[in-house]
């Protein structure tokens, strides 16, 4: 159960692992936009090459990526089929049982699916090479200009990191409560949906009560250790922007220009 959410990170010491989380977040964010620049064989070729290069640099086993792709694979296949069946452009490649398949349709289906695939690979790569806490730190740093408009960036980041820290604790607790209730005869697994929903209250109510109690105790513990909000706080985790980060951003700029020039 614990591996579901936070176990995604694959420890490593590759170039991609060591990039500043801000670089990775920006990279992903910009990538999402420039993917849409691609519209022909050349541009998709360049994009695919770039993505494969990232994958190679991350030194992550391909099996991890494929595992991450599994849940969305059918969406990709479905998108492809949809395009193949309903786009009616170009020449008919073949006809079968009244279904006409056009060459442009196959091309477009392939492009759209590839675009989808590339997007997912890059975002998966981010979660595989960056710890959740790094993502939080990166977000806090990137969003810090919003403090000017009184958006509590520090508090949000702290909330996120505390939530991350408590996921395994609450998971453990859920399991414990479930076992305790099952020992008392609650059936979580079978019966009609309405019955199962009812059984969930036996799990959720104790879980919520305990979570609130934990929150209260945690707040006291934080307060006695001197927590009084973000002002005047120093940071233990400092992000360092290095040459390689600048290099990656420039590379990304090049990629965008190349795509712009090659697109039709």
């Amino acid at each position: 159960m614990n591996n579901m959410i936070i176990g995604k990170y694959v420890p490593g010491d590759s170039l991609i692992h060591r990039l500043d989380p801000r670089t990775k977040l920006l990279l992903m964010f910009i990538y999402v936009f420039i993917v849409f620049l691609a519209n022909n064989e050349w541009t998709y070729g360049v994009l695919t090459f770039f993505t494969c290069a990232l994958l190679f640099l991350s030194r992550i086993k391909l099996s991890f990526i494929i595992k991450g792709l599994k849940p969305v694979l059918w969406v990709i296949v479905f998108t492809f089929l949809l395009h193949v069946l309903f786009t009616k452009e170009g020449n008919i490649v073949f006809q079968w049982l009244g279904i006409e398949v056009y060459d442009k349709a196959i091309q477009q289906g392939a492009f759209i699916s590839l675009r989808f695939l590339l997007l997912i690979v890059v975002t998966t790569l981010l979660t595989l090479t960056t710890t959740p806490i790094e993502v939080t730190d990166g977000m806090e740093s990137l969003l810090s200009p919003l403090k000017k408009w009184n958006i509590p960036v520090h508090e949000l980041a702290l909330m996120m990191s505390i939530s991350l820290r408590f996921i395994p604790t609450l998971m453990e607790e859920t399991e414990k409560i479930m076992k305790a209730q099952m020992a008392r005869g609650v059936d979580f697994a079978s019966g009609p949906l309405s019955e199962r929903m009812k059984a969930m209250t036996a799990l959720l109510v104790p879980l919520f009560i305990s979570a609130f109690k934990r929150a209260e105790e945690l707040a006291v513990a934080m307060e006695v250790r001197g927590y009084r909000g973000g002002n005047g706080r120093t940071k233990w985790r400092e992000l360092t922007w290095r040459g390689i980060d600048t290099a990656f951003m420039i590379l990304l700029g090049f990629l965008a220009i190349v795509l712009w020039l090659l697109r039709s």
């Binding site: 820290r165 927590y227 233990w236």
Partner: protein
């Protein structure tokens, strides 16, 4: 001797309750002392802990800590001088890893990064957790988490450490770990320790014991002095340490034990030398 905590005529009544949780409680804690406040549920010891760290204001009476009178304005100043370890190991672990947790308090104080590094390393070394700096809390045992909590407290260089039932959720080996760490800290750094507990087994290591009952101080003195009132303690719902009970039973059965042992180690060492002591007497 320098007084670090002075509690004077403190009473406390919870809102909507008839009886006082604390009534006219006065005591002092001296620098470098280990004072244990012990009491059964509802004796007022937890309320006392909350008053000491300024979570609740006393209904009447005053509390001075490190020469500062504790009130709403000085509470942050006073807390700077206190380190507190609470009962639940999980609910006081703020950071995502061990070193992040120790860093949390330092961040709050605005300690610069290079100084932080030094203090974190130092604090983790003192509690013997330096090899776990990058571990996540769910990989640690309860005793280890409490040791991290102690490290988090001492990284802030407090004058006083308060243990608020800090060992009550731990297994025996976890308890031992935590108490050993506290003891070695005290020897090396002359730290004042106030531990609040319901477990008389923890009392043996203290310099002085304050027994709370029904919101009042019932007994005060050295552990030996306290345990001389064994029957009274049992009346208050406290369980005497096993070694003490055993020593008393042995005496009742005419086994020549010299004292009432407060620690298992003491009793064991007397018992295994007892036979040779007796045979010595016999040969004489």
């Amino acid at each position: 001797m320098e007084v670090v905590v002075r509690v004077e005529n403190v009473s406390f009544q919870y809102v909507n309750e008839q009886t006082y949780a604390l009534q006219n409680v006065s005591f002092q804690v001296y620098k470098g002392e280990w004072v244990t406040i012990v009491g059964h549920n509802g004796s007022g010891k937890s309320t006392l802990a909350k008053l000491l760290i300024g979570l609740l204001p006393p209904t009447s009476g005053t509390i001075h800590a490190c020469g500062i009178s504790l009130n709403e304005k000085t509470v942050w100043d006073v807390r700077k001088r206190l380190g507190i370890v609470f009962q639940n190991p999980d609910n006081q672990f703020v950071g995502t890893t061990v070193q992040d947790d120790v860093a949390f308090g330092l961040e709050n104080r605005g300690v610069p990064k290079n100084e932080m590094e030094k203090r974190i390393k130092d604090a983790l070394q003192k509690v013997g957790m330096e090899n776990f700096a990058n571990d996540e809390p769910h990989r640690l045992s309860g005793g280890q988490k409490q040791r991290v909590a102690i490290a988090s407290a001492i990284a802030l260089q407090p004058h006083i450490i308060i243990l608020d039932e800090a060992t009550s959720m731990l297994d025996p080996s976890g308890k031992r770990e935590v108490l050993q760490v506290i003891q070695s800290l005290r020897h090396e750094h002359d730290m004042t320790v106030i531990s609040i507990t319901h477990d008389l087994n923890e009392v043996a290591k203290a310099d002085r014991v304050i027994v709370m009952n029904k919101g009042r101080i019932a007994l005060e003195g050295t552990p030996e002095h306290i345990f001389a009132h064994g029957a009274k303690l049992e009346e208050m719902g406290l369980d005497l340490p096993f070694s003490l009970q055993l020593s008393q039973r042995l005496k009742e059965n005419d086994i020549p034990i010299t004292t009432d042992h407060l620690t298992m180690e003491g009793l064991v060492s007397e018992l295994w030398t007892l036979y040779s002591a007796m045979s010595n007497i016999a040969t004489k």
